[in-house]
């Protein structure tokens, strides 16, 4: 039952919100179900902590890795929900762009993400990753403008084709398991595959083939270069709370799927093959996204390319492995999700006040919007990996691992890309912040709820940058233990 609640609450929430015709009622119902969902997630995390592994029936299962990602999802979802209340006030009403559709689709989206984390079966995992695309495509196209419809269509098509490759990879892995003597009825069960993995060494070619397809498939969803084409469009055209959900929750969710496959492949045929592939994707993403950030003109596109870059850094950490690599990668995914949410929330305020996200048209933000500017500065200092923020620690851990393994090429590449990104963000943001504003902002005050949300983001980043709380550190270690 513990694991059923986090799945049932968003489903019920979606159904209830969709029948609430009055916007004010829909918002309140959404907040109530959101609070309930956070409680359900907290309860599940607590039980997993006590039990270690929590199997529930044939198709649900939760372990340390699940718990880590559940905490991530719960935290970001709570922040997004609190932020969206103020944000929705200035959305022009349309046939589908009303609060009830917004929250209804968001709860469906959350349901699919929770289902990805809680399913024990790799086939079901695939089904729900595909379902995340379907549930969020309408949210990406929410504004119904030319750009939003184009981004939604591209997102739907690119991700569906990409994910189809992951299905092929899953089938090949299933084939390898069945040939290796695993009972066909449980040959997609992750725990069964994990314990049978050492016996699958004979099917080396099949396992490699499976991992390549899975890496391309789920890599599309993570946003690895060169499969990233959907990501900047979707992030830029979606409403800001949804951009935060995509960047901070969805990308991590796809990363989780890839981690599960990586663990099986590594245990069966050694980590050499899968980790090299991850290093290649990671390096490509970091370098290409870093350089593309220089030429961006739209604030949210800039942030989207930064997400690609950070997912690349996480992939590098996983690819390096070792004592600090995986730890750093998981911590980095978590830190990135908080910092990027903060930046997307700020972008929402910028759009509301300047009426545009084109960075060359935004001048004098420092004077016009002092609080939003403070959030932008904190977010950007955190995202480029400066101390005392969390991303510094995780990037430092990954770099330490690269140096200790004497992989200087990886370390130098990462450092070079990080400096390019640093320069790009500094260049774009100082031009936005400095100078005199051309016109008075529409609503310079930051609502109390948004203020609190951004404060929580900044506080989390600071705490994780100073010292990782021991409770959180034990969650991270439990997550790593599952994969090894």
């Amino acid at each position: 039952m513990t694991l059923l609640f986090p799945l049932l609450v968003p489903l019920l929430g979606a159904a209830t919100v969709l029948v609430c015709r009055r916007p004010a009622v829909a918002v309140r119902v959404a907040l109530a179900f959101g609070a309930l969902e956070v409680l359900a997630i907290g309860n599940a995390v607590w039980r997993i902590r006590a039990a270690g592994v929590l199997p529930a029936g044939r198709y649900l299962r939760a372990d340390g890795l699940t718990s880590f990602f559940l905490i991530n999802t719960g935290l970001i979802f709570a922040l997004v929900l609190a932020y969206s209340v103020g944000y929705l006030r200035h959305i022009p009403a349309g046939r589908f762009s009303s609060p009830r559709w917004f929250y209804g689709l968001m709860f469906l989206f959350l349901f699919t993400i929770m289902a990805v984390y809680l399913s024990s079966n790799l086939g079901l995992l695939w089904i729900f990753v595909e379902a995340t695309t379907l549930a969020s495509a309408l949210l990406v196209g929410f504004y119904n403008t030319e750009g939003a419809v184009e981004a939604g269509w591209k997102y739907l098509i690119v991700c569906t084709v990409g994910i189809a490759f992951a299905l092929f990879g899953t089938i090949v892995l299933y084939l390898a398991a069945v040939r290796g003597g695993v009972d066909p009825r449980s040959a997609l069960d992750w725990a069964v595959l994990m314990s049978a993995a050492p016996n699958l060494r004979g099917a080396q070619d099949l396992l490699k083939l499976a991992f390549v397809f899975v890496a391309i498939g789920y890599g599309t969803k993570i946003g690895f270069v060169p499969m990233h084409s959907w990501l900047p469009d979707a992030h830029a055209e979606a409403p800001s709370p949804i951009s935060a959900m995509l960047s901070a929750v969805l990308l991590n969710c796809a990363l989780y799927a890839l981690l599960r496959f990586d663990a099986i492949t590594s245990r069966a045929i050694g980590s050499g093959f899968s980790h090299t592939l991850l290093l290649i994707f990671g390096a490509l993403s970091v370098v290409v996204a870093g350089f593309l950030m220089i030429v961006q003109r739209d604030l949210k596109r800039l942030l989207a390319y930064s997400s690609i870059e950070h997912m690349g850094i996480a992939a590098l950490g996983i690819g390096l492995g070792g004592a600090f690599g995986l730890y750093g990668a998981l911590l980095h995914a978590f830190n990135h999700s908080i910092a990027k949410s903060l930046l997307f929330f700020t972008a929402g305020h910028v759009r509301e006040n300047f009426g545009t996200l084109r960075m060359e048209r935004i001048r004098g933000m420092g004077r016009a919007l002092p609080w939003a500017s403070a959030a932008l500065v904190i977010g950007s200092l955190a995202i480029v990996g400066l101390p005392p923020f969390g991303l510094f620690v995780s990037e430092f851990l990954i770099l330490t691992e690269a140096f200790s393994q004497a992989r200087y090429a990886v370390a130098v590449l990462l450092l070079a890309a990080l400096s390019v990104v640093f320069g790009a963000l500094l260049y774009h943001f100082q031009r936005m912040l400095a100078g005199d504003p051309e016109s008075a902002p529409a609503s310079p005050r930051v609502p109390a709820a948004d203020f609190a949300v951004m404060g929580v983001c900044a506080a989390c980043l600071l705490v994780l940058g100073m010292r990782i709380p021991s409770a959180f550190s034990s969650v991270l270690r439990a997550a790593m233990a599952v994969l090894q």
Binding site: Y59, N121, G123, L124, W126, I127, E130, A131, L134, A137, L138, G141, N144, T145, E146, G147, V149, E150, A151, G152, W153, K154, L156, I157, T160, V161, A164, L167, F168, I171, V172, Y174, L175, V178, P184, R185, L188, D205, P232, D233, A236, E237, L292, V295, Q296, R301
Partner: protein, 220 residues
């Protein structure tokens, strides 16, 4: 009884040829409605294949999968696509970026390529080369249809053909996945087509055309 068994095994062996024919015909098709009919026929061939397989291997799950394919892919999806074409009231041509002759040559090349691609695997996997090649050919030609067709609906059909190929690959190598997973995949497919249909209408309403190659505002 022997006769039925013989017929079932012959059907399995020759279905690859019929699948290749649908691939080649789809490459030449000029109208969306032709593509939909061909897609439906392709799924009917796959249904027959599953039935034959269910008979040969005496698997009751496979009969359920065959029923699902028949309902979802042979009937429901083509019906939905026809409804969309009718409601759109737009010209039903597909506007390919290659001529019909070029498309056929490319499709034939892809079929040859897939035979070469499965050659090293068919020995170790002990599966019929023709069937596995047909699966890969469907994947490749689906991808080809997606990149060479400009109309949104034609791309959806390309995606469906690609998905058919993956389904067929699973079928030939593992006799299908567990039933729960199959049902989930069908559900995703149905919802996917529904959503794509919705987006096709939105594209028409916001852009007043359906040529997705002209959707290029978002770049860089």
């Amino acid at each position: 009884m022997h006769l039925v068994h013989f017929a079932a095994t012959r059907a399995l062996a020759s279905s690859a040829v019929f699948l290749f024919i649908t691939v080649l015909l789809m490459a030449t098709a000029k109208r969306i409605s032709t593509c939909i009919v061909l897609f439906s026929a392709q799924c009917a061939i796959i249904t027959a294949e599953i039935l034959a397989m269910a008979y040969v291997h005496r698997s009751s799950e496979a009969y359920a999968v065959a029923a699902l394919v028949l309902i979802v892919k042979v009937l429901a999806i083509p019906y939905a696509l026809f409804r969309i074409v009718k409601d759109l009231q737009a010209p039903g041509d597909i506007t390919a970026s290659t001529t019909a002759a070029q498309s056929v040559f490319i499709a034939a090349g892809l079929i040859l390529l897939s035979f070469f691609a499965v050659e090293p695997y068919s020995e170790t996997l002990r599966v019929d080369t023709g069937m596995l090649a047909a699966a890969i050919a469907l994947v490749l030609s689906g991808a080809f249809l997606m990149v060479s067709r400009k109309k949104a609906l034609a791309q959806v059909i390309g995606l469906l053909v690609l998905e058919n190929g993956i389904f067929l690959a699973a079928l030939t190598t593992t006799f299908g996945m567990p039933l729960v997973v199959e049902i989930g995949i069908f559900f995703d497919l149905l919802m996917g087509v529904f959503l794509m249909g919705l987006f096709v209408f939105r594209i028409r309403d916001t852009f007043e055309h359906l040529d997705v190659s002209k959707l290029r505002r978002l770049r860089g």
